[in-house]
């Protein structure tokens, strides 16, 4: 494993370099892998992008949980395709992150050791089939709100990967909403199932946008460098405004007694997010943190001999090719 993070310390950054960099950002230019960038910018991007990739990978677990029980062939196929897409997104973002000088092996090692974070939403369990619908609707919906903005991020490879990924996420969101719509117009048991799933996923979905602006440690710098374009609270509000009418359309209640339309601002006012729960899950004590990490580690450990075989085979082939050429 290449210890890329422990490479020689970067050369000191001059005020001129920083000023020129910030001028480029201000002018709306994309920063590309070979361009000069402040070390903080590189580190922030590696943190955000690898977290994003890890979230795709860990996110395969709660949804994959229902592949073998999907209630029709069509639902089974679309769910497999969705989980496969998530693997593809993870792969794609890992590659984009590698352009910042960190290896995928290192990123994966950080995920498996618990050092790197992933979206806390995936630390909640999928208890019924309706969860698959609600995840598509809420979680992919929230991800789209975030990622549509990230598609305009200042780092070129990240922005471009987001454009592609957003297209697929939109598809996933529509599928999820459609599952919910069918359940909501189904039998009494199905209606109860979707309402219960909505009740469980609504607040954790609002937490996906991160802590409120007043307590978001990374936000100010990320906004200035146009890695982010809107604050956490702005994006959360946008998500609520988009989602409430969708819930009304299928006659599903959102579990917030304070939810009401504010004509003056045009926003749906919502109640207080339980930030204690948010930090508890972020710090590792959510319902499924241990299981998710254990599942990733198990797959990695049990796959070690397979990866070793592939490497040994590739090395042997390379050796054979070299001696044939000699």
């Amino acid at each position: 494993m290449t210890p890329t993070n422990a490479a020689a310390p970067p050369p000191p950054e001059t005020a001129e370099q920083l000023a020129a960099f910030e001028a480029r950002i201000a002018a709306g230019e994309y920063i590309e892998p070979k361009d000069w960038m402040p070390e903080r910018y590189r580190k922030q991007l590696i943190r955000m992008m690898s977290q994003h990739a890890h979230s795709e990978i860990v996110g395969m677990l709660p949804e994959g949980n229902w592949i073998t029980r999907a209630p029709s062939l069509r639902r089974k196929m679309t769910l497999i395709a969705k989980v496969q897409d998530e693997g593809g997104h993870g792969h794609y973002i890992y590659c984009a992150t590698e352009t910042l000088g960190v290896s995928r092996d290192q990123m994966v090692a950080d995920l498996l050791s618990g050092k790197a974070k992933y979206s806390s939403i995936f630390n909640y369990p999928t208890l019924t089939w309706a969860d698959i619908g609600v995840i598509g609707w809420f979680v992919d919906g929230a991800a789209i709100v975030n990622q549509t903005v990230l598609a305009k991020a200042s780092y070129g490879p990240y922005a471009r990967s987001m454009i592609r990924i957003c297209k697929e996420e939109n598809f996933h969101k529509r599928q999820g909403y459609e599952i919910c719509a069918v359940l909501a117009s189904g039998t009494e048991a199905q209606r109860a199932m979707v309402q219960d799933a909505v009740n469980r996923w609504w607040w954790p979905s609002l937490m996906m946008f991160g802590p409120g602006d007043a307590s978001s440690p990374n936000s100010e710098e990320l906004l200035r460098w146009k890695v982010k374009r809107f604050s956490n609270d702005e994006l959360r509000q946008r998500f609520v405004n988009l989602t409430v009418p969708q819930a009304q359309a299928i006659d599903v209640a959102l579990p917030d007694p304070e939810l009401r339309y504010d004509a003056a601002s045009g926003d749906w006012h919502f109640g207080q997010v339980d930030w204690n729960e948010f930090w508890q899950v972020v710090k590792g004590d959510g319902p499924c943190n241990r299981e998710r990490l254990a599942a990733r580690n198990k797959a990695h450990d049990e796959g070690a001999w397979v990866r070793a075989a592939a490497e040994a085979y590739a090395a042997r082939r390379a050796g054979a090719a070299a001696s044939a050429a000699a």
């Binding site: 677990l61 089974k76 796959g303």
Partner: protein, 290 residues
Amino acid sequence: MGYGSAPDEPETGAGSDAPERYRPVSERAAAVRPSASTGEHAAPLVEALLRLADDRLVLGHRLSEWCGHAPILEEDIALANIALDLIGQASLLLEHAGQVEGRGRSADALAYFRDAVEFRNLLLAELPNGDFAVTIVRQFLWSAFAVPHLKQLSASADATLAGIAAKGHKEATYHLRHAADWVLKLGDGTVESHARAQRALDELWPYVHEMFRTDDVEAPLVAAGVTIDPSTLQLAWRESVASVCRAATLKVPGDGWKAQGGREGRHTEHLGHLLGEMQILARSHPGAEW
């Protein structure tokens, strides 16, 4: 068949919890038994389509169990992709079977409301995934059969089957290449991977013979050019498998015990569990739309 005489009590449970429209319409609806004990078969074409469909549905389901748990991310993606292709083929074949049968059963009704004794897949398909070597070697052995099988079926006198087979053949060609690549890597990789691949080959070998079994059920279809006699594929299959095994430094096992029974609904104990999981939700809400 080696399973003893027919049971005194009929095995019941042919979707007895299912709504009327999913149930078999025969007068003996509550007593569906494997054809091995009754000698009864559905119409030959329905039977043949179920064999093709169930191999793919059950094997695709097994592959989908890997999703999120594979040794490397690329294999999570590849195995899911193959599962998707196989379940897609199964879905088309079941739909066709339901139409030919003419009892109004949809692809979903056939997938979710038949019991294990009514499934017609090879035993090979339903065996548990085991380690990555077992999954890959099984996929290789079966795909090496499926590719030439689908190629010939794409000239079937049944136009619908021919179309499904032609589409499936393209997919199966990729599946075979993927599996054969991995057989090479595992067989000719490390000492451990070689041992695991050889063990997988040895363990699975008794289950390959069933692929090539001929029976009377399909005879009229073969004569009419609708399906093909799978035994005619065996020689070429053995050669192609042996050639990959040789390159992978693996030893082709000798023929000993030949497991069989899947085509008559006599399965291993594993299929019931697989279906229990696959069908639980659909059967818990009979009549519901999803």
